[in-house]
């Protein structure tokens, strides 16, 4: 039996097209969904990020420890719930810092005020003498309500001890007219006084309301009226239920991005990415001819796989992340280039297409491995020591390198291997970008 040894195996080429069409269909069907699922960082969709330094509340000698920080984080979380933000991120950084990231929030102004208020409620007489405070209220008992007669929004709280409240109201109601006020403070600090604070305009004043107490109140329910809207009454009730912050928060670093600016930044970065990637594709096709075509296919697969992995990790795409993605294309291209240059070299030394492909793939692997591992070392260090933006970049870089290894090394090898092993490329060095006259005779 004599087999046609130089025959072309068409079946392998059919397999190639099956893989390419299959994967192409997957990308066409799923890529947009994947892209839509990616959660965008606040630099791309607008929002704000504040780094707070946590200090003990004025005059108190508490130490800032891990437990206290966690308490602060849960109090902040409860408050953000009131705001209804979809994906808040609150993290502890270092020994005494908390970073809050709220992406896609519309009313940044009230959100920031809401977060940094300590929510320490106190009830004082007009001489600023403390009558009772937040700890005298029933936990979780605050809610928004309406006054019976005027239908104005109010906040209703319940006190723990009816006797104590009766005594307080008795005391105050017996004072002369004009002094019989129970002043309700939010975040009273040493040095604040009713005299000065009550002169300030309503929005700036720390006094929520100062109801006149005309008679002893023998009940546990207290109504706080102020100049509330339904929303602001709800917010205050939410804050009170979330509990007072055990600490003071000071903004030491803040970034806020307007939604339209974020959108524009993303548009620009994506446009730049498309142009950059198109240039890379064109160059690869021009320089490596047939192999360049394979590179374009594997690079397309690479971009898709990075998106899928990125979604799967629940990572947040930021502006530096987009940059890393585009640079990752460069890394993936490099793996292709190293392999192709090797194959060209082997072809020039006179080897056949099949053995040049085998030798080239094998020899380039250790080079690619060493080069990529060193870059991963650098990216890991960036992840460990960087802050949020740099970390996002590092995660993307590592994902990119690992993916590029998968697509540019194995994907490229598989696809090119099918063509080379089908023998259709035998004696066609020009398709590899090698001129006949450069080939050494063996």
């Amino acid at each position: 039996m004599v087999k046609r040894r130089k025959g072309v195996k068409k079946s392998l080429i059919a397999v190639f097209f099956a893989i390419v069409i299959g994967f192409g269909a997957l990308i066409a069907w799923n890529a947009l969904d994947q892209a839509e699922d990616i959660s965008l960082g606040l630099d791309l969709q607008g929002g704000f990020e504040v780094l707070y330094e946590v200090t003990p509340v004025n005059g108190e000698d508490t130490e800032i420890n891990r437990e206290l920080l966690s308490d602060t984080v849960s109090a902040l979380n409860a408050r953000i719930d009131v705001l209804g933000v979809s994906e808040p991120s609150i993290t502890i950084e270092g020994d005494d810092r908390v970073r809050v990231q709220l992406a896609g929030i519309e009313d940044q102004a009230s959100a920031r005020e809401l977060l940094s208020t300590q929510a320490r409620l106190s009830f004082r007489d007009i001489n600023d003498e403390l009558m009772m405070d937040g700890s005298d209220l029933v936990e979780g008992g605050a809610r928004q309500n309406f006054t019976a007669d005027t239908n104005e929004p109010v906040v209703q709280v319940t006190v723990e001890d009816a006797n104590k409240f009766r005594e307080i109201t008795q005391d105050i109601s017996n004072r002369p007219l004009g002094e019989n006020l129970l002043v309700i403070w939010l975040d009273y600090e040493e040095g604040d006084s009713y005299a000065t604070e009550s002169m300030k305009p309503e929005e700036e004043s720390k006094i929520i309301s100062a109801p006149r107490v005309r008679k002893t109140i023998p009940s546990r329910d207290v109504e706080i009226s102020g100049n509330f809207t339904v929303q602001s009454a709800n917010e205050l009730a939410g804050i009170l239920n979330a509990g007072a912050l055990p600490v003071e928060l000071e903004e030491i670093d803040s970034t806020s991005v307007g939604a339209s600016l974020g959108e524009r930044a993303m548009e620009q970065a994506i446009n730049a990415g498309i142009v950059g990637i198109a240039l890379i594709f064109a160059y690869m096709l021009f320089y490596y001819r047939f192999m360049g075509g394979i590179a374009v296919l594997t690079l397309t697969a690479y971009i898709y796989v990075v998106l899928v992995i990125f979604n799967w990790l629940n990572a947040v795409l930021t502006l530096p992340g987009i940059a890393a993605l585009i640079l990752g294309v460069g890394m993936a291209v490099d793996a292709n280039i190293i392999t192709y240059e090797r194959i060209k070299e082997e072809l020039r030394s006179g080897k056949s297409a099949i053995s040049a492909f085998k030798a080239g793939s094998r020899r380039s692997l250790s080079t690619i491995l060493d080069a990529n591992i060193t870059t991963i070392i650098a990216a890991s260090v960036m992840y460990v020591y960087g802050t949020s933006a740099v970390q996002g970049f590092a995660v993307m870089l590592i994902v990119s390198i690992l993916t590029s290894f998968l697509t540019a090394v194995f994907g490229s090898r598989l696809l090119l291997g099918l063509w080379v092993n089908s023998r259709i490329l035998n004696k066609k060095p020009r398709l590899f970008g090698v001129k006949e006259r450069d080939i050494n005779e063996l």
């Binding site: 670093d253 600016l261 240039l279 530096p320 240059e341 060193t374």
Partner: protein, 309 residues
């Protein structure tokens, strides 16, 4: 572009002293520049606030200045950006308080319909960032030297790190010369360059290592020089093509990527070019010099031993 070493008349090794000299003079001048002029540290490294105001039409600095004055603020600096100058970036040294920030954001939203982006930093945070970046580079260097020493030899690792610091310093010097603003993305760019520079150097070293093992005897400087030259020419096409493709991506980011990525992509382009230059003309040549010294020492030891034995 085919670079066959037999035909090619390129000789990288012959001119190595010139390259050392050029890099030496450039970096020395650069260090003086860094020490005197310094870097244009962005708001990320100083106490202050930057505010980006996006308008829907072309604006002028005077216009924005007068808006700020109406609101009762005086920015230290206002610059226009964007294709049609639709964005203005105002800086406030010392920083704005939360309340001032919110007030200004509301103010400009009323005028242009877009909420400005605001970033406020205290110097403490900026210093920490810079310190962390330096620590990262040092730790990464140690990690890379260790890895290369295991996979190659110590001398390769040492030469690679010399080239690495050459590249990192190079970017700093260029930024000092151009007085472009140094911000957080810049640090990310320097760290990326660290990765690329190493990547590039490793590819050439990998070839040198391979060619060394193919040679039967490597006795003196000339043998080494021949190997280094051959390896550089063999990897030249790869070096050029890789840097070209990545420069395509970085340049596209620079031109089209918008303000946010400009510093980052500029640093990348500069670093990539420096990285390729240093792999070819610094890393391999430094290794050549170090290795030939090592060979000489070994020879001398042998000579000293031989008369006795």
């Amino acid at each position: 572009m085919n670079f066959e070493h037999e035909e090619s008349k390129l000789d990288f090794v012959k001119h190595r002293k010139k390259f050392f000299l050029i890099s030496g003079i450039f970096l020395l001048g650069g260090i003086i520049l860094l020490a005197t002029l310094g870097l244009n540290l962005g708001i990320d490294f100083r106490a202050g606030t930057t505010m980006d105001v996006l308008a829907n039409e072309t604006i002028t600095t005077e216009e924005i200045q007068s808006h700020f004055e109406d609101a009762g603020y005086e920015p230290e600096d206002i610059r226009l950006a964007g294709e049609d100058s639709t964005t203005a970036r105002a800086k406030f040294v010392g920083g704005l308080t939360q309340k001032e920030t919110l007030e200004l954001q509301g103010f400009f939203e009323d005028i242009y319909g877009n909420t400005p982006s605001v970033s406020t930093v205290t110097p403490m945070v900026g210093e920490e960032l810079a310190r962390n970046a330096i620590i990262s580079v040092l730790i990464a260097s140690v990690g890379i030297i260790l890895y290369i020493t295991v996979r190659f030899q110590f001398l390769y690792g040492l030469s690679a790190i010399i080239a690495l610091f050459h590249d990192a310093l190079f970017i700093l010097v260029v930024f000092s010369m151009t007085q472009m603003e140094v911000n957080i993305p810049f640090i990310a760019a320097v760290l990326t360059i660290v990765g690329y520079s190493i990547n590039d150097t490793i590819v050439t070293f990998d070839r040198i290592r391979e060619n060394m093992s193919l040679e039967k005897r490597v006795k003196d400087f000339d043998d080494l020089a021949r190997i280094v030259n051959k390896s550089l020419i063999q990897t030249l096409a790869r070096s050029i093509n890789t840097v070209l493709t990545v420069v395509f991506a970085a340049a596209a980011l620079f031109v089209l990527g918008g303000e946010g990525l400009r510093t980052f992509s500029f640093a990348l382009v500069v670093g990539l070019v420096a990285g390729t230059y240093s792999s070819l003309f610094i890393a391999a040549q430094v290794w050549l010099v170090l290795k030939s010294k090592q060979l000489k020492k070994q020879k001398q030891k042998k000579m000293e031993l031989e008369p006795e034995g």
